[in-house]
Amino acid sequence: MAHGPATLADGWGKYISRWVFTTNHKDIGTLYLWFSFAMFIMGGAFAMIIRAELFQPGMQLIKPEFFNQMTTMHGLVMVFGAIMPAFVGLANWLIPMMIGAPDMALPRMNNLSFWILPFAFAILTSTLFMEGGGPNFGWTFYAPLSTTYAPDTVNYFIFGVHIMGASSIMGSINIIATVMNMRAPGMTYMKMPLFVWTWVITAFLLVAVMPVLAGAVTMMLMDINFGTSFFDAAGGGDPVLFQHIFWFFGHPEVYIIILPAFGVVSQIIPTFSRKPLFGYSSMVYATAAIAFLSFVVWAHHMFTVGMPIAGELYFMYATMLIAVPTGVKVFNWITTMYRGSLTFETPMLFSIAFVILFTFGGFTGMMLSIAAADMQYHDTYFVVAHFHYVMVAGAVFSGTAAVYYWLPKWCGRMYDETMGKVQFWIAFIGFNITFMPQHFLGLAGMPRRYADYGLQFADWNMVSSIGAFMYGGAQILFLFNVIRTIGWGKPTDDPKVWEGAEGLEWTLPTPAPYHTFATPPKIK
C-alpha cells in the first residue's frame, strides 16, 4: 500500500485532519456510522422523555409544549439523522468492496456530503435552546401548524432540512455513479450483491424525492416570511396541497429507509443458512416494483382528509398491491433458510427477527391500506405501532445485524457473541413489550402525539414505557459491545470470517486494508 491513514501516533493534528479531509470511502463510512449512532442515542433519549411522560396519565415531567417538540425531534432525528446516515455509512463501506471498486466515484463530494450533516443537525437541535423552542408540529410538519402557527425557530428547521436534503442527494448521486461506472470487469448488474441493488434503487428514489421535500420547505419559507399563501386558505392556498407534496416525498422516503435494510438481510440470511439466496432475480424485480409503487400510493396517508371517493379507491387498490412484491421478498428469505444448514449468530438472530417483525408490520400495513378501516386507525397508536414495527424492527434491527456481521471484517476483531445475543434478546423482548400494546391502545381509541390521555389507556401505556426503557438499555449494551470489539476484541485474520459468507468483500484480507481493489478483481 502506498500510504496508510494517520493514526493517533502521528499526533492529534494529523489525526483530526485525516477525518476532516478524508476522501477514503472506509473513513467516510465510519464517520457516517458513528454520526448516525450518536443521533440514534439522541433520538432515543427524546423517546425516553416521551415514554417517561406517558408512563402515567396527567402531566408530570414536562409540559405539552415540550412534549410536542420531543415527538417532532424524535421523528426527525431518527429518520434523517439515525437511519438514513446509517445506511449511507454501510453503502460507503461496502459498495466499493462488493463491486470490486477502489473507492467511490466522487470521493470529494463524498466528504462534503458527510461533513454538512453535523451542521444540519447542530442547527436543528440548537432550536431546542432558543426562545420559542424547537419544531413542535410533528415530523410531518403539516401546514398551517408549521407555518402561521409555528415558532420563529421554524426557519432553522427549514434550513436544516435543506442541508440534509443536499447531503442525501449528493450521497445518492455518488452511489449511482459508483455502481454504474466502477464495477469490476465481469461484475454485470445481475451479479451484483443484493445490498448493492437495493441501494442503487434507493439512490434513484432519493434523487427523485429529496427535491420535492426541498420544494415543500421552500414554499413554507415563502409563506412564513415573504407573504405567499401556498398553504394558507385565507390567501387562496390549500393546506391539503402541503400534505400531497409532503407525502409524495414521504412515502418513497419510507422505502428509502427499508430497501437497504432488505439488502442487508438478503446478504446475511444466505451466509448463516450456508445456501445461496433463493430467487435472486425475483428479489431484484420485487425491489424495483416496490420502488415504482412507492411513487403512486402517497395519498393513503390522507384517507381522512376528505378526498373524493375515486381518489380513495385508487389509492387503496394501489397500496394493497405493495403486498405482492413485499410478500415475494419474505417468501424468498424463508425459502433461502429452507433446507439450509442454519446457525444463529447475532447477525442472523437480528435478521430473523427482522423478517418476522417486519412481516408483522406489513400485515398491519395491509390493514391500514383498507380505507374504510383506516378511518378508525388513522393517527392513532395503531399507526405508531405499525411504523415502529417496520422502522425499528425493520431498519434498526437490520442495521444492528449489519454492524455485527461486517464489524469483524472492518476492524479485524470479533465481537463478544454472548453479549451480542444478550443484547438481541433484551432488544427483541423490549421492542415487543413497547410496541405490541400500542396496537391495543390505538384500536381502543388513543390518538398519537398525545401528551396526556384518559384513564382507560393507563395500563398499556405503562407497559409500553417499561418496554421502551428496556429497549433503550439494549442500545447501551450495543454501544459497549462495539467499542469493546474495536478496542479489545479477539483478533481475527480469517478473510471469510463467517463459514458461509460469499462475495468480493470476503476475499479481501481481514481487517480490510485502507485501500482495496487498487487493481480490479477477476469475476468468474
Binding site: P57, P64, Y149, A234, P239, R339, A372, P447, D452, L455
Partner: protein, 381 residues
C-alpha cells in the same frame, strides 16, 4: 416501601389480570378494550367487519408463513446435522407466491370497496351539523336552527397537573356535548378555523380532518341512545390532547326538547347582556372562562410560556386601557396564534375574562369590564 413496590407490581400486572378476567363484563374491563369498537352505526360496523376480515386473513397467512419458518429454524439447523442444499430458484413456486397473494388481494378489495361506499353515502341527511375545529375546542352549529355553541374540555388544569385527584371522566368530559337524535341521518360538515384538527367518534366510525378552507362530510345514524366519546386526531398544537369530542344521542322527543331549550337559552341570554355585574361576580366567572379557554397557552398563573405565549401578568395590554384589552380578544392578533374569540365566547364571558385578567395575579387595575362594554366595542367596529 415494600407496600409501594407491591402496589406498583400489581399495577404492572393489571393488564394481564384484565386479560385473564376478560369474561367478566364489569365497567372496569370495558375500559381495557383491546379491539376496535363495533360502534353503533352502519359505518362503524362496516369498518369493524372489514377490520376483522383483514385481521383473520393476516392471522392465517401469518400462522402458515411463520409456522413454516419456525419448522425450518428447528429442523434445518446445523447443530442437528443439517447439510445445506444448493437450489436457488424455482420459477413455478415463485410464480405461485406472486399470483396467489394477488388473487387474495382482489377478493379483499370487494368488501373493502363496499365498506368505503357506505362511508361516503352522505346524501339525503335529515339534520346538518357544522363542526368547526378551533385551537382547542369544537364548535357545533345546527344549520337552519340558529343554535351554535362551543364544546370545550371540562377537566381542570389542577387534575391535569396532578394538583387534584383525577376524576372518573378525566379528559373525556366537555362543557357541552354535541346532541343528536336517534333514528335520524345526521350529516356532519367538518372544517377548521385555524390549524388542521380531526374530528373522531370511534363508535360512529367517523373521522374527518377539519381543514381550514375546506368542508368534508361524514354521517351517522344510530338507534342506540348514549354518550359517545372521541378525540381530536390531528396534531394541532399544545392543546391537542385536551379537546375531546363528546356526543350524546337522545331519543327524538328528548332531542327536540333539548333543541327548544337551546333556542330559549339564546333568547334569554340576549336579555342578560345589559345586566350590571359586580366586581366579584366577574372575577369568579372570569376565572372559570380563563381556565377553560386561556390557561392552555397563557398558563394558570398568567406567566405564559417564554417565547411562545406572552405573559398576561404585568403585561402592558392587561394594565393598559380597557378598550385595547377587549380589542385583542375580539380581533385576535394577526400573524400569531392569538385568535379572535368573538365567535367563541359570549359577551358576558369576554367581559368576565378581561376583568379577571386585569385584576388577577397582582394585576391590579381595579376597573370593572361589563358585557355592555364588549357589545359596544363589537358594534363600534
Amino acid at each position: 416501601m415494600l407496600k409501594r413496590a407491591q402496589a406498583l407490581f400489581l399495577r404492572l400486572l393489571s393488564p394481564v389480570i384484565a386479560l385473564a378476567i376478560a369474561g367478566n363484563v364489569s365497567a372496569e374491563s370495558a375500559t381495557r378494550q383491546l379491539n376496535m369498537p363495533q360502534g353503533v352505526t352502519e359505518v362503524s360496523q362496516a369498518a369493524y367487519d372489514i377490520h376483522m376480515i383483514m385481521m383473520w386473513i393476516c392471522t392465517v397467512i401469518g400462522v402458515a408463513v411463520f409456522g413454516f419458518m419456525f419448522y425450518v429454524m428447528y429442523a434445518h439447523r446445523k447443530s442437528r446435522g443439517a447439510v445445506a442444499a444448493n437450489f436457488h430458484e424455482n420459477h413455478v413456486v415463485e410464480l405461485i407466491w406472486t399470483i396467489v397473494p394477488a388473487l387474495i388481494l382482489i377478493v379483499m378489495a370487494i368488501p373493502a370497496t363496499t365498506a368505503l361506499l357506505k362511508v361516503y353515502d352522505t346524501e339525503n341527511a335529515d339534520i346538518d351539523i357544522k363542526v368547526t375545529g378551533y385551537q382547542w375546542k369544537w364548535q357545533y352549529e345546527y344549520i337552519g336552527e340558529g343554535v351554535k355553541y362551543m364544546s370545550e374540555l371540562r377537566t381542570s388544569q389542577d387534575e391535569i397537573y396532578g394538583r387534584a385527584p383525577k376524576g372518573e371522566h378525566y379528559l373525556r368530559e366537555v362543557t357541552e356535548p354535541l346532541v343528536i337524535p336517534t333514528g335520524k341521518k345526521v350529516r356532519f360538515l367538518i372544517t377548521g378555523n385555524d390549524v388542521i384538527h380531526s374530528w373522531w367518534v370511534p363508535d360512529f366510525g367517523v373521522k374527518r380532518d377539519a381543514v381550514p378552507g375546506l368542508f368534508t362530510a361524514a354521517w351517522a345514524k344510530t338507534d342506540v341512545p348514549g354518550t359517545y366519546v372521541g378525540e381530536c386526531t390531528e396534531l394541532c398544537g399544545i392543546g391537542h390532547a385536551f379537546m375531546p369530542v363528546v356526543v350524546e344521542v337522545k331519543e327524538e322527543a328528548d332531542y327536540n326538547e333539548w333543541l327548544a331549550g337551546k333556542k330559549a337559552e339564546a333568547a334569554e341570554y340576549a336579555s342578560t347582556i345589559g345586566k350590571e355585574w359586580t366586581f366579584d361576580e366577574l372575577m369568579v366567572r372570569g376565572e372559570e372562562v380563563y381556565e377553560r379557554s386561556c390557561a392552555g397557552c397563557h398558563q394558570s398563573d398568567g406567566n405564559g410560556i417564554t417565547g411562545v405565549f406572552p405573559a398576561l401578568k404585568d403585561s402592558p395590554i392587561a394594565l393598559g386601557a380597557k378598550e385595547g384589552h377587549i380589542a385583542v380578544l375580539i380581533d385576535g392578533v394577526a400573524g400569531t396564534s392569538m385568535q379572535s374569540f368573538a365567535d367563541q365566547l359570549s359577551e358576558v364571558d369576554i367581559a368576565a375574562v378581561v376583568h379577571y385578567e386585569r385584576n388577577a395575579w397582582g394585576n391590579d387595575v381595579g376597573d370593572i369590564t361589563q358585557p355592555i362594554d364588549v357589545l359596544n366595542y363589537k358594534q363600534g367596529q
